[in-house]
Symmetry: none
Subunit: 133 residues, 4 copies
C-alpha cells in the first residue's frame, strides 16, 4: 500500500480498513487482522496501526473483546456509511463544487469519466489492503 503525502498515514489506514468493512471484505462480527500483522503487511510502525484502530474503536466501528482481539462491529458497515456520508455532504461535496466551478468544468462532462472509472474498478486488483485474496 502506498500512502498519500498530504494525509497522515494512520488516517489512510483507518480509511482503508473502513472500506474493507464497508465493501464486506471484512464481514461483520469477524476478527480483524492484528496490529502486529497489519503493521508488517503495510510496512509501518505498529504504533501507527494502533492509532488507526483506536480511531475506529472510538467510532464504534470495531470493538475490543478483551483478551480475544478486535472484531468488526455488527453494524460496522452502517456506522461507516453514516460517517462518510456526513463528511461527504458537509465537506467534500462543497469543495468539489467549488473546484469544478473554478476550473470551468461541467458536471455533465464527468459522466463518461465516471463510466470509465466504474469499468476499471470492476475487477479491482488494488483493493485497499488486499492480503487474503
Amino acid at each position: 500500500m502506498d500512502f498519500k503525502e498530504n494525509e497522515p498515514i494512520y488516517l489512510q489506514i483507518a480509511g482503508a480498513v473502513s472500506e474493507n468493512i464497508l465493501t464486506g471484505k471484512w464481514p461483520a462480527g469477524e476478527k480483524i487482522t492484528s496490529i502486529r500483522d497489519l503493521a508488517i503487511e503495510l510496512e509501518v510502525n505498529p504504533n501507527t496501526v494502533n492509532r488507526a484502530y483506536e480511531l475506529l474503536q472510538n467510532q464504534e466501528v470495531i470493538i475490543n473483546k478483551r483478551g480475544m482481539g478486535l472484531f468488526v462491529a455488527l453494524d460496522g458497515a452502517v456506522k461507516i456509511k453514516a460517517i462518510r456520508k456526513e463528511r461527504f455532504m458537509q465537506q467534500e461535496l462543497p469543495e468539489f463544487f467549488r473546484n469544478i466551478h473554478l476550473l470551468d468544468i461541467e458536471l455533465n462532462d464527468l459522466q463518461h469519466l465516471y463510466q470509465q472509472f466504474k469499468k476499471d474498478n470492476r475487477k479491482p486488483k488494488t483493493d485497499t489492503t488486499n492480503e487474503n485474496e
Copy 2:
C-alpha cells in the same frame, strides 16, 4: 479571513491569492499586496505571508521585480489553472468517484445540488482577501 484548523495558514493564503489571480481580481502584470501589508490585513506574521508568496514564486505565478515588489505573472492565471486542473484530475476526481461509488450516489443526483450551489455563490461574493474595497 478566517483560517481552517487542519491546513497550514500559508497554504490557505497561497490558495486565496491563487483564486484572486484565477478569477481576475488581481490582474496579470499588476503589483500584488506587499508582504507586510497582507500580513497586517490577515493578522498573521509577515514570515507566513512570505512563505505563501515563496510558493507562488516557485510556481512562477507571481514574479519578483527586485526592490519594487511582487507582480502577477503575465500568464499567472493560466499557470494556476494548469496546476489546479492537474491536481483535480489526478487526485480529487478519482477520490470523488471512489466516494460516490462507495456511498451508492449517482452523479445525476448531484445535478440539482450543483445548481443550488451555483445560485448561492452568485450573490455572497466571499472574495477571499480584501473585504474593505
Copy 3:
C-alpha cells in the same frame, strides 16, 4: 564549516549536503543527519537547516519518511548531477568562456593549473560537513 559572506547560509548548506550525496559520502537510501543535529553541528538555527533541507526535498534529492527522518533519494546523486550539469552548461560555462575571452586567456594555458588543482585536492579531503568521523 565556515560560511561565505555573500551567499545565504541555507544555500551553502544545501550545496554541501548535495556534494556529500554526489560524492557518495551520504549513500542512496540512507538516513541523513537530522535537522536538529546538523543545526548543532554547524552552529546555526534549526530553521536554517530546515530551509536547506526543504530545498533539497523540492528537488527530490532527499525524501521525508514521516516520523523517521529524511533519507537520500535512491536516485539522489543522479538528480543532483543533472541539476548541476544543467546550471553549468547554461550559466557557468558561458560566463567562463566570456571571461577567458575578455582576459585573453587560452584554454590550453589552464591545463597545468588544473593538474595542480587535482593534485592539491587529493590529500586535504575537505569533505564539507562532519569533521569528526
Copy 4:
C-alpha cells in the same frame, strides 16, 4: 538588457559598462552615457545606475569631472583587466575547477565548445549595452 536573477542589477550594469570599456567600445577619455540616459535605456531606476557608476568611480575606472560628467579613465581598460584577472584567478577559476571535477568533465572536452563560442561571438549582435552601433 536582461538581468540575471541571482546578481544585483547594479553589479550587472557595472559589469556591462566595464566590458564596454575593456573592449574599447567606450574609449579612454570619452564621456560616458549619463545616468539618466542609461537608466532609460536599461529600463531601471536611475539610483541603480548611479550605484553602478559609484562603484566604477571607486575603482577609478571612470572619473568625475565636476560639472562636465563622467569620463572613462585614461587607464580604465588596464584597471578593469587587472581587477577582473585578480577575481578570475582567485575565485572563479577554483570554483570552475571544482565544478568540472564534481561533474566528471575534462578540460579537453570543452575545447570544441569554446571554438563554437568564439565563432558565435565574432559578429556580436548582443554586446552588453549596445546603443551606438
